[in-house]
C-alpha cells in the first residue's frame, strides 16, 4: 500500500509542480500594473539581469562565430564551396545557435542569480516581512524579474548574433583572406529577415519566458535553508537547459 502510494506520488509530482508553476505564472500576470514604481522595478531588473549579462554573451558570441567559420571553411573546402561560409554560419546562427546558446548562457548567468536571490530573501524572512507589511511579494519581487528576463533574452540574442558575425568576419576575412564582397553578397542573397532572423528572435522570446519563469518559481518555492537554495539553483540550470532544447525542437518542427 505504502509502496504504490509513493510510486504514484513520484509520477504525479512533476505534473502537480508544472500546474503550480503555471498558477504562479497566472498570479504574476494578474499582478501587472502599469504604474511608475513597477516600471522602475522592471527597468532596474532589466539592467541587473540583461545588461549585466552582456559581456559574457558578447565574448561567447564572438568565439562561437570564429569557431563556426573555422569548421565551416574546413568542411566546405572539400567541395570547393568555401565561399558559402558566411551563408552557412549566419543561417545556423540566426535559426538555432544564437537563440539556443544565448538562452543556455542566460540560464546559467541570470537564471541562477535570480533563483539564489529570491531563495535567500525567503531564507532571511524578507518575503515573509513583505507579506506582513501587506506588500505582495509576487508583484514586487517575482514579476519584475520575470518581465526583465522576457525583455532581455531576445535583445541579448540579437547581440550574440551580431558578435558572432563579427567573429566570423575576423576569422574568414581577416585570417583566411576571404573576399569581403563575396562574404556579404552571400548573406544579402541568402538570409531572409523574417524567416531567419525573426524566426530565431521569436524562439528566444519563448526561451526568455521559460528560463525566467523557472528561475523565479524555483527561487520562490525554495526551502528556506542554505541547502534548499543550493538545490533550487541547480534545478533552475538543469531544468531550464533541458526545456530549452526540448522546446527548441518542438517549436522548430511545428512552426517553421
Amino acid at each position: 500500500m505504502a509502496v504504490s502510494e509513493s510510486y504514484i506520488s513520484k509520477l504525479t509530482a512533476p505534473v502537480a509542480q508544472s500546474g503550480q508553476c503555471l498558477l504562479f505564472l497566472f498570479r504574476m500576470i494578474s499582478s501587472i500594473r502599469f504604474n511608475a514604481s513597477q516600471l522602475r522595478a522592471v527597468l532596474q531588473q532589466t539592467y541587473l539581469i540583461g545588461a549585466r549579462s552582456l559581456v559574457i554573451i558578447m565574448i561567447c558570441g564572438f568565439f562561437v562565430g570564429m569557431v563556426l567559420s573555422l569548421q565551416a571553411i574546413n568542411a566546405l573546402e572539400q567541395f570547393g564551396a568555401s565561399d558559402q561560409v558566411s551563408l552557412l554560419v549566419v543561417k545556423s546562427l540566426f535559426r538555432e545557435l544564437g537563440p539556443v546558446l544565448t538562452a543556455l548562457l542566460f540560464a546559467g548567468r541570470a537564471g541562477t542569480s535570480v533563483t539564489a536571490e529570491i531563495g535567500l530573501m525567503k531564507a532571511t524572512n524578507q518575503i515573509e516581512a513583505m507579506e506582513l507589511m501587506a506588500i505582495d511579494p509576487i508583484q514586487v519581487i517575482a514579476l519584475p524579474r520575470f518581465l526583465a528576463g522576457l525583455i532581455s533574452l531576445p535583445l541579448l540574442t540579437a547581440m550574440f548574433n551580431a558578435l558572432a558575425i563579427l567573429g566570423s568576419i575576423v576569422f574568414a576575412i581577416g585570417v583566411m583572406d576571404m573576399d569581403s564582397g563575396i562574404f556579404w553578397s552571400k548573406l544579402q542573397n541568402g538570409i531572409y529577415f523574417y524567416k531567419d532572423f525573426i524566426g530565431g528572435i521569436w524562439k528566444s522570446l519563448v526561451f526568455g519566458g521559460l528560463v525566467s519563469l523557472i528561475a523565479v518559481y524555483f527561487g520562490y518555492t525554495a526551502k528556506p535553508t542554505g541547502a534548499g537554495v543550493g538545490t533550487a539553483t541547480t534545478n533552475t540550470v538543469v531544468l531550464s537547459s533541458v526545456l530549452i532544447l526540448v522546446f527548441d525542437f518542438i517549436m522548430t518542427s511545428f512552426f517553421t
Binding site: S37, E117, M121, A129, E131, L132, V140
Partner: protein, 269 residues
Amino acid sequence: MEQAKPNTTAIRVRNLVFRRGRKTILDGVSMDIQQGSIVAFMGPSGVGKTTILRLISGQLKPDAGTIEVNGQMISAMSDRELHHFRRNIGVLLQDGALFTDLTVFENIATPLREHTDLPEPLLRRLVMSKLSAVGLGGIEDRMPHELSGGMARRVAFARAIVLDPRIMLYDEPMTGLDPIAVSTIRTLMRETNDALGLTSIVVTHNVDQMSKLVDYCYIIASAKIAGEGPPEELNSSTEPSVYQFMNGKMEGPIPFHYQTPGTQWGLLD
C-alpha cells in the same frame, strides 16, 4: 506597571485550535489582551508561540475558534480585507528581515510607498523622523549589511512603526543582540508602546528580559496556556509547567523527548 485603558480589549481570542498535519499546535486557547499593554507569549522552543503571531496577523487560518482584533474578526476576513487590515499591524521579525538590496532609507520608505501616495519631500521627512526616533539619524544611505545587529534591528523597528500601526507584533526581538542593544530595543518597545498607545505582543523565551518589560504574560506548553499573569506573579507560581519554565528546570511536565504520532507510525510500518 499601570495600563493605559484597562477596560478595553484590543485582541480577543476564543477557543483557538490550530493543527499542523497530525500534530495539534494549539488546543483551545483563549485570551483577552488589553489595549495599551505589552503582552508576552513565552514557552519552550517549537511550542507554537510564533504560530499565534501568524494567526493574529492573518497569515494562518485557525482550524477552529475566533480571533478578534479591535473588533474585527480576523478569522472570517477575505484576502482583500486582510490586506487592508495588515496596514494596522507592525511586525518585527526575529532577525529584522531588512530588504538586503535596498538602502536603510528605502527599507523604511517601502511600506509608505506601497500604501500611501505621499509626495516625496513629505515621505522623506517621515522616514527621517522615524529613523531619528530610533536614534539612528544620518545612516539613511547605508546598506543593511553595513549595520551592526543592533542597528539593523532598530532600522527594522523604524520600518515596522512607519505606518503608525495600532498593534505591534514582535518575534524574538532581542535574540542575538548584545546587552546594550537589548536594553535599547527594550526601551524603544516600551516608550513607543506608551507614547502611541499601542498594543504589543512579544514572543520570546527570554524570561529575564521579559520580566523587565511586559505587563502580562502567557506561558504556553503542550498546546495550552499553562499559566498567565503579570511576570512577578508567574515568578512565584507553583504550577508545575510554569515553575519548570520560569526556573529553567529539566525535570517537570514539559517533556525532554519530542514525541509525535509519526515516530510510532514509522516503527509499525
